[in-house]
């Protein structure tokens, strides 16, 4: 049994034994928990990944004449200004106001540029008052020019993050990177055996051994502190809220990124020292990648609750490939696909190594937490949902492919519709005819339905959210989508009129 005070005395004298969580695995394996707990004083951990829930409070100092800034832009990225006159919060995921730049240069990029000492253009507007007569201000600033730049991140350092794959027959662009069609890759995130929360976790009590409010940490290359549990904190998917001084940070550990067609985000290096006070703590610090379960979810399902495809662990994920049992087009198949990481294990190692060096050099002393992390809570929003089946006009009007074009035209007129799904004898969708196709048939003197129908039909499922169908129609620039059941049988058609009725309020 040791105390943090005793460990700090050893650090000051340069006598502390400090190892990384990776090194601890080997020590415990070779020497046993008891001996490891005896002679190791501190285990350093680290993680380096995309942390969208990050941002910086900036106080710009007052201009003369002074302004009460309300609408605030840094390099054309909006910062939240609903605070006192010259305070603002710039969030990492905020896109650029210029639609051509958009997510390619967002809040995260402003933050990285500030850390790099680059000049950033501040433009702000406000309403005038007796004490703040100025209407707007436009000035170039650097990190040195501002009074404070305090990074405060509501949710960082996920203990474990679920991995992602994609059941759809098209590529999808997500915050987990680009997911290939038909489960053709699995992307994962997290430092696993190096992750700070993982190494400090007590699974029996679902609480943390030493980490808590007030714990001093490595944040972005500078010194930071844990403020408390992060948003959506829910061990074993624990999170942290942290703060740090941007002026101390190093651009090596604060890196702006853009997830293609998703958004801008900030990659942050975060490391926490764990004091080895007893055997229990030492034992947990020897946790290995293979001991950490990681669920794989299907991101192809655009719903809050995504289908669980498999459970695996970080060791398998880091091996570069994984075998999945999946269902493609109604067939169960075994598929071995490539895995790719979204976070950087190499940089996580560098964080743990740097923190270790700081402690060995006597530059970083450990703190006693002033309180435990708060309660866990991660429940869904009570938002209403409209499914395709809620807006479906029934029964479906369909036709076989052996009718004439004249007959098809008559069906469209009779039912006052523009889309006619063509089905086989079992009611299964084989194509679609629109009023445009009929016009085309006339113009080009085409004779049969087969000649003019579209065979590659974009379809919707009746249990799909209407929002998703609206996105599909806009993406493919179409005005109607046949709705099919699990057997590809047509159960209706959703048209752009149905979608606009949703927004028009006439339900």
């Amino acid at each position: 049994m040791k105390t943090i005070k005793e460990i700090n005395e050893k650090i000051k004298k340069g006598e502390a034994v400090v190892v990384t969580a990776e090194e601890m695995i080997k020590i415990v394996e070779e020497e046993g928990v008891k001996k490891a707990a005896d002679y190791v004083d501190v285990v350093t951990t680290g993680t380096f990944g995309a942390m969208c829930s990050s941002g910086v409070f900036i106080n710009f100092g007052h201009s003369d004449p002074p302004i009460k800034m309300l609408k605030i832009y840094l390099n054309n990225v909006e910062a939240y200004g609903g605070l006192a006159a010259v305070d603002a919060y710039i969030g990492a995921a905020q896109p650029n106001e210029d639609p051509d730049i958009d997510i390619d240069y967002g809040g995260a990029h402003v933050i990285e540029d500030l850390v790099r000492g680059k000049e950033v253009e501040l433009y702000a507007e406000g309403y005038t008052t007796d004490c703040y007569p100025r209407k707007d201000v436009n000035v170039k600033i650097t990190l040195d020019d501002v009074n404070q730049a305090i990074m405060v991140n509501p949710r960082n350092c996920y203990q474990t993050y679920p991995a992602a794959t994609n059941s759809r027959d098209e590529k999808i662009y997500t915050y987990m990177g680009i997911l290939l069609p038909e489960y053709n890759n699995v992307h994962y995130s997290g430092a696993g055996q190096l992750n700070p929360l993982q190494n400090d976790y007590n699974p029996e009590t679902k609480s943390f051994n030493t980490i808590g409010i007030g714990t001093k940490i490595f944040l972005g290359g500078g010194i930071g502190y844990i403020i408390g549990e992060g948003t959506q904190h829910n061990p074993p998917f624990g999170t942290l809220m942290v703060k740090g001084d941007l002026k101390q940070m190093d651009a090596r550990f604060i890196r702006a990124a853009t997830m293609p067609r998703y958004g801008s985000t900030l990659y942050i290096g975060l490391g926490i020292p764990i004091p080895i006070l007893n055997e229990k703590i030492a034992e947990r610090c020897a946790i290995k990648d293979e001991d950490i379960e990681v669920p794989i979810y299907d991101y192809g399902t655009p719903r809050r609750d995504k289908p669980l495809i498999a459970k695996t662990n970080y060791k398998v994920l880091r091996s570069g490939k994984i075998t999945l049992n999946v269902n493609i087009d109604g067939k169960d198949v075994e598929k071995t696909v490539k895995t790719g990481s979204v976070s950087s294990y190499k940089m996580a190692r560098e964080v743990a190594e740097t923190l270790k060096q700081w402690i060995l050099d006597g530059k970083f002393l450990l703190t006693e937490r002033v309180g435990k992390l708060g309660r866990a809570e991660n429940k869904p929003m009570k938002s209403p949902i409209t499914l395709v089946k809620d807006i479906l006009s029934k029964p479906p009007i369909t036709a076989p492919s052996n009718i004439t074009i004249m007959e098809a035209a008559k069906i469209l007129i009779k039912h006052n519709i523009n889309h006619l799904p063509i089905v086989d004898e079992f009611g299964k969708l084989i194509g679609i005819i629109t009023s445009w196709d009929i016009a085309k048939a006339l113009a080009q003197n085409k004779k049969t339905i087969e000649e003019i129908m579209t065979r590659n039909v974009i379809t919707a499922h009746e249990d799909e959210p209407a929002d998703h169908v609206a996105r599909k129609m806009s993406k493919y620039n179409i005005s109607g989508i046949p709705v099919v059941d699990d057997y590809k049988r047509v159960v209706g058609v959703v048209t752009s009129e149905d979608i606009s009725r949703l927004f028009g309020g006439k339900k």
């Binding site: 890759n185 699995v186 990124a257 293609p260 985000t265 570069g320 790719g340 950087s344 294990y345 190692r349």
Partner: protein, 131 residues
């Protein structure tokens, strides 16, 4: 052996089946990696397979109808920008990108065919394809 080249066909030869003729006349195997044919000029990225002699013959033949430039390196990565995350690994259709034992992302540059999938996937814009 294998050789990758850029090839610009002269406008006067644009309507000739230059690639097929090269294959038939020299016995070289050609994989067309990219082709952009316009009324004035055609630009192709070709991968030639065969013995050293055959490839030389093919290059001589191709030179009669256009300009040949050998590709030394297709893919370029800015190591200052790369954080070795791995977002690009699964996007590579020919497995030319992998993570080594030290968790560094490695590019087998000599195998790259210039498809640009990794360029589009990189969150740090650290990858460039030289054209």
């Amino acid at each position: 052996m294998r050789k990758r080249i850029y090839y610009w066909t002269d406008s006067k030869h644009i309507n000739k089946p230059v690639i097929s003729d090269t294959i038939l006349n020299t016995g070289v195997k050609i994989n067309i990696l990219k082709a952009k044919v316009e009324p004035q000029e055609a630009f192709l990225i070709l991968e030639l397979f065969g013995s050293k002699e055959t490839i030389e013959k093919a290059l001589n033949y191709l030179s009669k109808f256009g300009e040949v430039e050998e590709i030394s390196k297709v893919i370029k990565r800015d190591l200052e920008k790369c954080v070795h995350c791995g977002c690009c690994i699964t996007q590579c259709p020919i497995n030319a990108i992998y993570m080594d034992e030290d968790y560094s992302v490695i590019f087998k540059e000599e195998e790259c065919v210039g498809c640009k999938n990794c360029v589009k996937a990189c969150p740090f814009k650290a990858i460039e394809i030289i054209e």
